[in-house]
Every structure is written in C-alpha cells, then in structure tokens.
C-alpha cells in the first residue's frame, strides 16, 4: 500500500464543536471499569480542582477518531480502511478533559511513509476549547497493510 508523501503537512478544517457531557464521561468510564469518583461525581471532581467530572486519559479518542476519519476517508489519499491496523497512539495533555468542555479538533498529517510494502500514516489532532484554550494533542499512527 503506497501512500502519497505529498500529503505531509496537510491540515483539515476544524470539526464542529463537541459538547463533552457528564453522562458521556460516566458512560466511557464505566465501559473501561474506571470507578474513581472524580469520573462520576461532580463534587469529587471539584475537590480535585475541576469544574465538573474528569474524563479518563484516553477519552479524547471519542472526538479524535471522528476528526481523523476525514483524513482516512479522504479519497485523494486513498487509504483502504479494511487493511488498516492501529500502530501507535499518544496523548499529550495541557489539562484533563472535563464535562462542560466544548472542544474543536484540527487534524494535520505529520507523517506518510511506505516501508516493506506497508503504508504508515501519522495524524496529529490539536484539541482545544471553542475559546482557543489548548487541552490535549493526540497523535495516531495507522498502518495500511500491503497486499499479500
């Protein structure tokens, strides 16, 4: 699977604001078995200095997966999604995501390489509030497996 390296550096339009809901954080925390009170109880989160319940560290995937879909599904780049496996994932936080955040994602292609017949695509998504306050940067590398 050969991917076009000229896509490196390309940025995609900001996503529509995502409203982080208290119940969504509770649902996500429950799904991963995260029982800490700060994920569920606003009073416990406030005791840690947050305005509302705190999302677990990997919660931003809920937003960024949709944000990077516009890259993976960009017909000009030509990724065959059936051949995609997840390579690397990184979250670098300015602060935790909390309920009440209204977040916008801007995704950029950081890396496009082809090695051993496989394509490698690294996207970087800057997640910030609608007011422009940076919250978390998310990198995701996918591998597009070559034809056997």
């Amino acid at each position: 699977m050969s991917l076009d390296p000229s896509f490196v550096g390309r940025s995609y339009p900001p996503t529509a604001p995502y409203q982080v809901g208290r119940e969504k954080i509770r649902e996500f925390a429950t799904a991963i078995g995260a029982t800490d009170a700060a994920h569920h109880d606003p009073a416990a989160a406030r005791a840690l200095g947050h305005p509302d319940v705190v999302a677990p560290p990997t919660f931003p995937q809920v937003l960024t997966m949709a944000a990077t879909a516009q890259i993976v599904e960009d017909p000009a780049l030509g990724v065959d999604y059936r051949r995609v496996v997840h390579g690397d994932q990184r979250f670098a936080y300015t602060r935790p995501v909390v309920a009440g955040d209204e977040l916008v994602c801007v995704s950029t292609i950081d890396e496009v390489t082809t090695r051993g017949g496989h394509g490698f695509l690294t996207t970087r998504t800057e997640v910030a509030t609608v007011a422009g306050e940076p919250v978390v940067t998310v990198w995701s590398k996918i591998v597009v497996r070559g034809e056997a």
């Binding site: 996500f28 995260a34 700060a38 947050h50 560290p57 990997t58 809920v62 997840h86 390579g87 670098a92």
Partner: protein, 130 residues
C-alpha cells in the same frame, strides 16, 4: 522502582460496551466471522480499550484520576478475546524511570496477554497527586 502488577479481565461483553461508549464499531471487535475473514485468529480487543485499561493502571499507581500528562503506546500484538465467560486477561506492570525536579514521574510500562507482550514503547508521564 517496580510498581505493583495489575490485572484486567476482558470479555466479549466488555468489548461490546466499549464499542458503544467509544463509537468504534469495527466488526473485528465483535464478529468472529469478520475477524477471521481478515486473517485474525478471532475477535480482538480494541487497541484503544487495551490502552484505556493500561491507563487505569497508570492512574491507579499515580493515585489520581487526573495525573496523566503524557501517555503513548505502540500496539504490537492483538488481544484475542474468546467467547467464554472468562474471556482473557491483560497483565500490566511498570517501572519508574525518572522523577523530575518539577514533580513528574516517567513510567515504562509492560502489558502482556497469554504471556506475550501486546504493547511496546508504552510510556506515561504523571504528576504527583495533589
């Protein structure tokens, strides 16, 4: 310094619940038919589910749910989840590599399933609990 090992059981029901909560409905995480058709041994866990469980281990060691400032992993081997009541189990351990002057702790993490490493280059930076 080595941190106490933590284990996490993973069943098919967990994968279905995670699919719903995360919005990742890729059928390789719930359909044996689709998983085997693309060359997998069977249904596998979402990589991001494994990363989330390891994240629980990290916040558990840190003693605070909001302690993580940087967290990265490489997915090297799929976590196969059989359709049994027991499912499978992920074992997570870590060593403290560094404690910086500004109170950040860097962890090198190992995650295994059935005795095989499922992540490499798994690292987290956490700040001290308040």
């Amino acid at each position: 310094m080595e941190l106490p090992t933590q284990t996490f059981r993973v069943t098919r029901a967990d994968l279905v619940r995670y699919a719903g909560a995360s919005g990742d409905f890729n059928p390789i995480h719930w359909s044996d038919r689709v998983a085997t058709a693309v060359g997998l041994p069977g249904v596998i866990a979402h990589g991001m589910f494994t990363m989330a469980l390891v994240g629980r281990a990290v916040t558990g060691w840190a003693g605070a749910p909001d302690a993580v400032v940087d967290y990265n992993v490489r997915f090297t081997r799929p976590v196969v989840v059989p359709d049994t009541d027991e499912g499978t189990e992920i074992t997570v351990s870590a060593v403290v590599k560094e404690v910086t002057e500004d109170g950040l702790t860097r962890l090198d993490i190992t995650a295994t399933c059935q005795g095989e490493k499922v992540l490499s280059q798994a690292r987290a930076t956490v700040r001290a609990a308040r």
